[in-house]
């Protein structure tokens, strides 16, 4: 069960996002985006609060939140790795880099490591195809990847 302080914090973050964007349906996605960015994911309590404040049914908020890739309804690790699995990265050696990633992290696509450090997500094009294979760790982009570089990159993150 979430503690009172946690709910208080969620309440504060949601209210701030709603005030900033306005409590209207068309701002639902920007609001969800902001809250997701601050909390790392969208907990049930946050979705309920957003529904109340924007005056949309809870089912609607959930259906929107679960539709978009950048919104997560599940908690993620401290660092999120997004690995591009689109064709341009694939043909220049993306698959080998992917193998190196799952060997190093010992988790599969869509999983979070037991210590809560890493989440590994496959994603569609990140828009930096000129330097494929590409992955993003949190907000940092790594391009021209080779399997050998993977351990070094992972070590940079505490």
């Amino acid at each position: 069960m979430p503690t009172q302080t946690k709910i208080g914090k969620i309440n504060e973050i949601v209210s701030k996002a709603v005030n900033q964007h306005g409590a209207v349906r068309e701002e639902l996605i920007p609001i969800l985006n902001d809250v997701n960015r601050t909390l790392g994911y969208l907990p049930k309590e946050a979705l309920e609060l957003i529904s109340q404040q924007v005056h949309v049914p809870k089912s609607t908020t959930f259906s929107v939140a679960s539709f978009y890739h950048m919104l997560s309804t599940k908690p993620l690790g401290r660092h999120v790795i997004q690995f591009c699995e689109s064709a341009p990265c694939h043909v220049v050696g993306g698959h080998q880099v992917w193998q190196a990633l799952i060997e190093n992290l010992k988790i599969k696509a869509g999983e979070t490591s037991p210590d809560g450090k890493w989440s590994l997500i496959t994603t569609s094009c990140l828009g930096v195809c000129g330097v494929g294979p590409v992955m993003m760790v949190d907000d940092d982009v790594f391009g021209n990847l080779t399997p050998d570089q993977v351990p070094g990159i992972l070590q940079k993150y505490k």
Binding site: E26, S63, H69, M70, L71, A87, P88, G127, V128, G130
Partner: protein, 544 residues
């Protein structure tokens, strides 16, 4: 605007940043301050400059010297030699080419090779994207001024029709005709929407315009608003493009402060507002009706068409939806006239096209060339040949919804009609060049996997069809496919094409259709001989 002795530009597209552009920028500032030159020299980060094999790149004006790739430790030498002593640091110069983009005038142009011709990317990389004054100096807002002061909406639309400009999002619909449909739409409220949800794999052309020349989109949208009678515009930018969103917000604010946006634009009776709307990660939102749903705050599920957005779009009102590249063509056309534009490119597809060239070639990156160039020319001239001297096997156009182009079409002019006649799709401008090390079945599997993940799930043919195709292709790559699978694949792709609601589902089957048509022998080798001729597929004998 401050006057300076020298102007230093640093390429800061994401690829340059990945290679240390930010560090070079910081180091340059330090070195310049150390020598007390900060009042005489400006340092600016710009978007993409082209020349992707020599990034991060530093250009020093007025001499227009191009350095690259520049690392942090080159900076002290560069500052001392060029900016302090005034000598060109020859050892750091970027490799000179016969062909290059905007900086063509400073490198020699020998022979008769067609040079890049930049209209859309004209300013990208030479102006400071956060400065409206820089945009003014490079003909900025002239087209808007001309339109509002000397042209009627009707004249604007007929000029566009005459220019022959066709939508650059992939479908190639005539832009002038679309504008006319919206201008005829009923009701007082209409909208202009810029589709900047660029998410076709391999395509990043719009990103460079948004990040490198954001005012061109603001100007084009305002012109569009005037021409079709809309007072509000939305730019829908994909969520991953955070910098692009910032740049557009800033550009809008600057334009408002100058009276080029908002109430009474240019002192006329025309008023126009633009809102930036960020996406949240969904490929399908690039489909225009899904994009409208998303702006309304809903799941990005495409609507049935007709009615088309030109009659019932955003909140049920007539809406003009144009791609970024299409819009970026508008101000130059209005400045230079329809006749100037229609002379570029081919008769049926005038103008230039921005391509992202990727895959197994020596130089990858972004080029803008007249319509009608052939794939062979692109590979030889701009890609500098196949990597390691390998042989061309196939190319994939237009991101995932494009076609797989076999060897036989390498000399077909790349324009909407020639490609349609050859039975392939021109797409959004990504050219993924593959050599013989790429397996056609594996490539199709990766493409189908993309659609499987990105299908919005609203209608069955696409949701189930992509999942099932992926399973069948996986079996083939594991060596457990059957010949009857090919018949199933064919049926699924036909059904998806005929029965899907939107463009995503309709085109999702094209990789399958293409490999069955052009690479049938290779597919059959996987099934009959249990061999992957390229040696890529695992062929482990597992069946899903």
């Amino acid at each position: 605007m401050k006057f300076v002795r020298s102007m230093v530009l640093i390429s800061s597209d994401p690829q340059s940043v990945a290679k240390g552009a930010n560090e070079v920028y910081a180091c340059l500032q330090d070195e310049i301050c150390k020598r007390g030159l900060e009042s005489e020299i400006s340092v600016t980060t710009v978007g993409d400059i082209g020349h992707h094999d020599a990034i991060p790149m530093v250009i020093v004006y007025p001499e227009a010297v191009v350095y690259g790739p520049v690392t942090e430790k080159d900076v002290p030498f560069l500052v001392e030699e060029h900016l302090y002593k005034g000598r060109i640091a020859t050892s750091l110069l970027a490799p000179v080419r016969e062909l290059s983009g905007r900086i063509a005038w400073l490198t020699s142009r020998k022979g008769t090779l067609p040079a890049e011709h930049r209209i859309v990317l004209e300013r990208v990389g030479i102006i400071d994207p956060t400065s409206i004054e820089d945009y003014f100096i490079h003909d900025g807002y002239q087209a808007l001024g001309k339109v509002l002061n000397t042209m009627t909406p009707e004249e604007v639309i007929s000029m566009l029709e005459k220019s022959g400009l066709r939508g650059r999002g992939g479908a190639g619909f005539p832009t002038g005709t679309k504008w006319r449909f919206v201008s005829r739409g009923q009701g007082n409220q209409k909208y202009v929407v810029c589709n900047a949800d660029e998410s076709e794999p391999g395509t990043f052309k719009d990103r460079l315009v948004l990040e490198g020349d954001p005012h061109s989109i603001v100007e084009a949208m305002t012109i569009a608003g005037y021409a079709v009678g809309a007072s509000e515009g939305y730019i829908y930018i994909r969520g991953e493009y955070v910098l692009a969103q910032e740049r557009l917000r800033k550009a809008i604010q600057q334009a408002k402060e100058m009276g080029l946006l908002g109430e009474h634009v240019f002192g006329s009776n025309f008023s126009f507002e633009i809102h930036v709307h960020g996406g949240a990660g969904a490929y399908v939102c690039g489909e225009e009706t899904a994009l409208l749903e998303s702006i309304e705050g809903k799941r990005g599920e495409p609507r049935p068409r007709p009615p088309y957005p030109t009659t019932r779009g955003l909140w049920g009102k007539p809406t003009l939806v144009n791609n970024v590249e299409t819009l970026a063509n508008i101000p130059p056309i209005l400045r230079n006239g329809a006749e100037w534009y229609s002379k570029l490119g081919t008769a049926s597809s005038p103008g230039t096209k921005v391509y992202t060239i990727l895959g197994n070639i020596n130089v990858t990156g972004l080029i803008e060339v007249p319509m009608g160039i052939t794939l062979r020319e692109v590979i030889a001239i701009y890609g500098k040949g196949m990597r390691g001297g390998s042989n061309f096997k196939m190319a994939q156009t237009g991101g995932s919804s494009g076609s797989i182009i076999p060897d036989s079409l390498q000399d077909t002019p790349m324009d909407f009609d020639s490609y349609a006649k050859a039975g392939v799709a021109f797409g959004s401008g990504a050219l993924l060049i593959c050599n013989e090390d790429v397996c056609a079945v594996d490539l199709a599997k990766v493409l189908v996997n993309f659609f499987r993940n990105e299908s919005c799930g609203k209608c069955n043919p696409c949701r189930v069809g992509n999942q099932r195709s992926y399973e069948i292709l996986t079996n083939i790559t594991e060596g457990t496919g059957k010949m009857s699978d090919l018949e199933d694949l064919k049926n699924i792709s036909d059904n998806m094409f005929q029965l899907s609601n939107c463009g995503l589902g309709q085109t999702a089957g094209s990789p399958i259709r293409d490999i069955l048509k052009d690479f049938r022998a290779e597919v059959e080798a996987h099934i009959r001989l249990k061999v992957c001729p390229s040696g890529i597929c695992p062929m482990s004998g597992v069946r899903v």
